[in-house]
């Protein structure tokens, strides 16, 4: 023992303390164990396996074969044929492009969420009622709503949207059956389903946290309504905006799997195949487990990169504000 405690009693209490820390350590692990075990097996292990398998070729039925970076060179590589550049896997690039295209839904939906929240953030009758109604699509989300959109709203001949367009003399597009309109159709649905949901609730909470004194001060300085929004509301909501955009980006890169599967199966002609759906196709339709994991890894790295860039950029921005 290096230090002799001045009084005999302290040694005892130190030892007892030590024993207690040990015991509390063990107790803590018992609390943690059930969740941590499942977490390691079903959340952490899959990430490791995905990384490992992305260097293999495996069709599930035969033995897996280590092929190094070949999945990735297949994905990103290309060659010049007859003086024209062709990708080894053009479908991958199409899926990548589609995934980014669908991200357009995020700013549109967020802007509408914010607008709804600002309008709702007034003392007015029926606020709660409106909020509940706007939330309905979020509550009802799922295959039922996807079928409603696919069969009832976006149906080119009988659907509500084209019927309404026809009644004012516009011939509506073929929506999900059209190469050019399938993506906008799904974006329209996403915006409809998300604009009044969770994000609006978060913006509403953010607005309610802004001190009225800030607006009073701005008014004294002669700020109009737009200036107040620009210089008080928007900067004060920066953390909320950051949170919403981060979670939306992560979900967005995952690529609307349910909608794509139920509504278009990635079609027509790959127009709505996102990276998420492309992963599914390789794994469960063509049994290329290795290649599927490689696509998933690319998705993971994309999410990571974009999130980090987004985080840096937002940090810089909030300093500025």
């Amino acid at each position: 023992m290096q230090r002799i405690p001045p009084e005999g009693g302290t040694t005892n209490s130190l030892l007892r303390n030590h024993a207690m820390i040990h015991r509390s350590n063990r107790t803590a692990w018992t609390f943690l164990a059930p969740n941590l075990a499942g977490f390691l097996v079903f959340v952490v292990l899959p990430v490791v396996v995905a990384l490992g398998l992305s260097f293999f070729r495996w069709d599930v039925f035969h033995d897996a074969k280590f092929i190094g970076w070949r999945n990735f060179t297949e994905m990103f590589g290309g060659a010049t044929e007859d003086g024209q550049w062709t990708w080894n896997d053009p479908k991958f690039w199409q899926a990548l492009g589609n995934t980014f295209f669908f991200l357009i839904a995020i700013p549109i939906s967020m802007a509408l969420s914010l607008l709804l929240a600002v309008v709702l953030n007034q003392k007015m009758r029926g606020r709660i009622w409106f909020r509940t109604v706007f939330f309905l699509p979020t509550v009802c989300a799922g295959v039922g709503l996807l079928l409603l959109w696919k069969l009832m709203l976006l149906n080119p001949q009988f659907g509500l949207i084209n019927s309404l367009l026809a009644s004012v003399g516009i011939e509506g597009p073929k929506w999900l059956q059209s190469y050019h309109w399938a993506k906008p159709a799904i974006i329209l649905m996403i915006v409809w389903a998300t604009m009044g949901g969770t994000n609006m609730i978060l913006y509403l909470a953010g607005l309610q946290n802004i001190s009225p004194e800030l607006y009073e001060a701005a008014q004294i300085d002669g700020a109009g309504r737009w200036a107040q929004f620009r210089h008080v509301t928007w900067p004060m909501l920066a953390p909320t905006t950051f949170f919403i955009s981060t979670t939306s980006l992560i979900a967005g890169f995952a690529g609307e799997f349910d909608a794509v599967y139920v509504m278009t199966r990635g079609g027509p002609d790959g127009a709505t195949t996102t990276l998420g759906y492309y992963t599914y196709q390789h794994a469960f339709e063509w049994f290329n487990m290795g290649y599927a994991c490689a696509v998933a890894m690319v998705m993971f790295v994309l999410i990571l990169t974009v999130t980090v860039i987004h985080w840096r950029y937002s940090e810089a921005r909030s300093h500025y504000a």
Partner: protein, 275 residues
């Protein structure tokens, strides 16, 4: 005040238009589910069924399409996932919020980091792990993997941290063990957070599509969303039946939402505090 400056008429008109846009499609779904099957079932000029409400659509979709069985599956799976997730998450959240142990903050950071990984990224390896366990096409596969998400632990820890520590200390002095504190103090005080997590998990599990799609193959294991999607692929033109099926899927979620709206809103905000 700033509020009174907004022109009322504009606000109400705007909100009403958005509200109608939200409600109209849902209303139309319900009305179509009560139409007589046939080509003009979707004619929007006759939204109200002309020949009376055709309730037999519900009977038909319920008995003839496997919806009854899948409804039972969905109920069992959703209840089991929700109970398991809320219970194990509350245990872990208590450890993270209240106990000291080696590596606590690092492990929690690990939990947080996985919230960045969407399910699509890990769906293939998770399926392969289940295959090794011989769980594919079983209730285990439907129930156990979805029980573990960092989100539940994060949300509950966030709430537990707001409870005053004096309570724990007072209880410890009175001879209460950590288990006693968890069970008799923390859990009863956390009812709003537990209710919020229960509701969010229930809804998420009920509508879950990708996971059941991957791990089940036989019809008697299908959950409701899967059964509906499959029915649509085989009989895509039976709009009335498909809408009846969709309404059946949506009703439980609406009931949970109506009864738990207060907790729901709280939970959404609690999960975002870290922002």
């Amino acid at each position: 005040m700033r509020e009174s400056r907004w022109p009322r008429v504009f606000s109400y008109t705007f909100l009403s238009i958005v509200g109608v846009t939200m409600v109209l499609p849902l209303l139309w779904m319900v009305l179509t589910s009560l139409q007589k099957p046939g080509a003009d079932a979707m004619d929007f000029r006759h939204p109200i069924p002309r020949e009376g409400l055709h309730w037999s659509n519900y009977g038909e979709v319920f008995h003839d399409t496997g919806v009854a069985r899948s409804l039972l599956n969905s109920a069992v799976v959703t209840v089991a996932v929700t109970a398991g997730l809320v219970f194990t998450s509350s245990l872990a959240a208590y450890a993270f919020a209240r106990l000291r142990f080696f590596g606590r903050d690092k492990i929690f950071l690990g939990y947080l980091a996985t919230m960045m990984i969407p399910g699509v990224v890990t769906m293939v390896p998770t399926f392969l792990i289940l295959r090794e366990l011989r769980w594919v096409d079983s209730y285990y596969a439907l129930i156990i993997p979805p029980m573990f998400s960092a989100y539940g632990v994060f949300l509950l820890r966030q709430f537990f941290l707001t409870l005053p520590r004096d309570l724990d200390e007072a209880a410890t002095i009175d001879g209460c063990s950590p288990w006693g504190i968890y069970w008799r103090i923390i859990l009863p005080l956390s009812q709003p957070a537990l209710a919020a997590l229960t509701i969010l998990t229930f809804l998420g599990s009920w509508r879950s599509f990708m996971w059941p799609l991957i791990v089940t193959h036989t019809k008697d294991k299908f959950t409701l969303p899967l059964a509906l999607a499959q029915f649509q692929e085989m009989y895509g033109i039976h709009w009335t039946l498909l809408m009846a099926g969709s309404v059946i899927m949506i009703i439980p979620m609406l009931i949970v939402f109506i009864f738990g709206q207060r907790f729901f809103v709280e939970g959404v905000q609690l999960g975002a505090v870290k922002g």
